[in-house]
């Protein structure tokens, strides 16, 4: 269908709908605008209907011969049932008051008299808590020793690193970016390096078909436009191809370059701050197609292949959003979006992977909502320091660490790839969910960072609470079963 035909079809929409939408949001200088009501809230019913319902209920109860005592007991049991549902993540949607009580009795008395009980249980998401009882907490490495480790060094075997080279600008007294160098080392010894002149490489990813590198033009400012670029580097450091992206944006940031393992590559990027973009390239770096979707002001935190399409995590700090996923088809069209949250806690996704036909989301949950500064530790800080912070304010690690551990729960959600609905989960208290990867025996490994010690430093600009986490690794098979666990001996820092 031609573009003109699409325009014509849309242009023919009945004028009554055009007129309805014309006044939906009027500029304030014409007619005061109105904000839409939250669709979850039911519109207030007229007062006379509400009164009639209350009267009718009272009449029914009295007519049934119930005494005041029985009514009070009924209310008490119903309140207990509602609390039980909430505590256990059960949904009471569609259930009458008596059905809620009946299901509650069935579950607590382990009977099945109500035909709604099975339905309620089926809707609940079962999960497992992985206990770390008996594990000795506390690190042998002191906090000052952890902070002094500014360079973790190269890993054994083949490892890569991006190094920025600067040149002194004597006129302005600044250090200007000259180039970025991709280094390849074996056990720390340099094998080769590839230089990208006047370009800033922000990240890379190693695949069996080469190392994809991406970034943006060297200098960025509010008065000059910049461009994004991608390159494919061979195993010997040779640049196979390098491309500048030109999608019509003044600002474009590449978030991921994914190997489709069919000779093509997919670039996920953010255009002009508010567009989620997908571009597809062939094995010679020629762009095959491009698609963009306006999603609003979000950063792209992660992107992975999912079946024949992709899953992309978006995030923002204001308002705080750390568990928003978009499922894209092969052409970059948005098929579905998922957001994971609950009324009394926030879920932060840190990594995701497709495994065994399911989507695994690693992250952590924090009780309550972030404060206006999007701080996860808002709840802890309000308890620790109710008054003004001074240089005399100090909290001992013995008091602080259990509070921080209570604040975090690592969560691994295992979700249906089509609907995004969680099917099951694993959780570890006092921890944060980390990286996901598939190991050499085709098992999924989930790194969990368990908080072992913390320190409070209100006058440090970069963080207020920081500490050390010990890394535990849990292994899963394709049937979602936990098949192994180990304490790796690795530590990572924690800072909020």
């Amino acid at each position: 269908m031609r573009e003109q035909d699409r325009s014509k079809i849309i242009g023919n929409i009945d004028k009554k709908y055009i007129d309805e939408a014309a006044f939906a949001f009027e500029d304030s200088d014409a007619v005061p605008g109105r904000k839409w009501a939250d669709p979850k809230r039911n519109p207030a019913r007229p007062g006379w209907i509400r009164t009639a319902v209350i009267v009718a209920s009272a009449v029914l109860l009295i007519a049934a011969g119930l005494t005041a005592t029985v009514i009070a007991a009924d209310v008490k049991e119903y309140n207990e049932a509602v609390a039980f549902f909430a505590d256990n993540g059960l949904s009471a949607e569609g259930l009458s008051r008596s059905e809620v009580k009946a299901v509650y009795r069935d579950i607590t008395e382990k009977t099945f008299t109500c035909d709604k009980t099975a339905e309620v249980l089926q809707k609940a998401v079962p999960g497992w808590e992985i206990r770390q009882d008996g594990t000795e907490f506390g690190s042998d490495t002191s906090l000052p020793e952890i902070w002094s480790q500014t360079d973790p060094g190269f890993r054994k075997g083949v490892d890569y690193r991006l190094v920025e080279q600067y040149v002194r600008n004597e006129e302005y007294g600044t250090d200007d970016l000259k180039s970025t160098v991709l280094e390849c080392r074996m056990d720390g010894e340099l094998l080769w390096e590839t230089e990208f002149d006047d370009l800033c490489a922000t990240d890379y990813s190693c695949t069996k078909d080469g190392i994809a590198v991406w970034g943006h033009s060297g200098q960025r400012s509010t008065v000059t436009s910049s461009f994004a670029w991608i390159a494919l580097v061979g195993g010997d450091g040779t640049v196979k191809w390098q491309r500048r992206l030109d999608h019509g944006f003044e600002l474009e940031d590449v978030a991921a370059v994914l190997n489709n393992e069919d000779g093509t590559w997919t670039v996920i990027s953010r255009g002009q701050v508010r567009y989620l973009c997908l571009a597809n390239f062939d094995s010679d770096g020629n762009e095959l197609f491009f698609n963009k979707t306006e999603v609003g002001v979000y950063g792209i935190r992660n992107a992975k292949r999912l079946g024949n399409g992709y899953i992309v995590q978006l995030g923002s700090y204001d308002p705080p959003e750390a568990a928003l996923l978009y499922r894209l088809d092969r052409d970059g069209r948005v098929m579905e979006t998922y957001s994971y949250d609950s009324e009394d806690s926030a879920f932060h996704i840190t990594d995701m992977a497709e495994f065994g036909g399911r989507v695994y989301l690693s992250g952590y949950s924090v009780p309550g909502k972030a404060d206006e500064h999007s701080r996860e530790i808002a709840g802890i800080l309000s308890k620790l320091v109710p008054g003004a912070v001074t240089s005399e304010t100090s909290i001992s690690p013995e008091v602080l660490t259990p509070m921080v551990q209570d604040n975090y729960t690592a969560v691994l959600l295992i979700c249906d790839p089509e609907e995004g609905t969680p099917e099951t989960f694993y959780s570890v208290k006092g921890s944060l969910g980390g990286k996901l990867s598939v190991n050499g025996t085709d098992k999924l490994e989930w790194d969990v960072e368990s908080i072992v010690s913390t320190v409070y430093s209100p006058l440090t600009s970069a963080w207020s609470i920081a500490g050390v986490c010990e890394v535990f690794r849990y292994e899963f098979d394709e049937s979602r079963n936990l098949t192994g666990q180990e304490k790796t001996g690795e530590t990572v820092t924690f800072a909020r």
Partner: protein
Amino acid sequence: MDDSKIIDLLFERSEQAIAELTSRYGPACLRIAEGILNNRQDAEECVNDAYLAVWNTVPPQKPDHLPGYVFRIVRNLALKKYHENTALKRNSSYDVALDEITEFLPGSASVEDDVAVKEISEAIDDFLETLDEQSRILFVRRYWYADSVEELARLSGRSGHYVSVRLSRIRKALKKYLNGKGVFV
């Protein structure tokens, strides 16, 4: 000044009518044109042309809903300019909206004549009738008025994510509806 008085001024051939039109609907007209053309100068020119078209057509026309009438003229003129200017570096919210429209009006489908165009438009009208008011307004503002997702979020007081998801679901439902009606068979 309400719409009926502006129409009266047009019938009296008073230039005050254009001043009132500009004051009342100028920003909205500019937003529609800019959403399609992505260029302020072109959009202003288009809006001025639209005022002239209103002056030349009222009378004898007497629109029963003046803003809708004006917005339609602005949109048609903007689209004409959009299609004429093939060299235009496109990045307007209208481009993005057109891409989204392919989800329910796919490129592979063919439309042979104006009768077929009318049939599809009527099917879309029938679908819109089944939607709740908010969804219908979002759809029309996005694809007829070419409002950006960000603008819709700002105007409705909802998040960009909410608007984006809602529109995605409407497009999917419309595609299913049109397929069910055999529109593209």
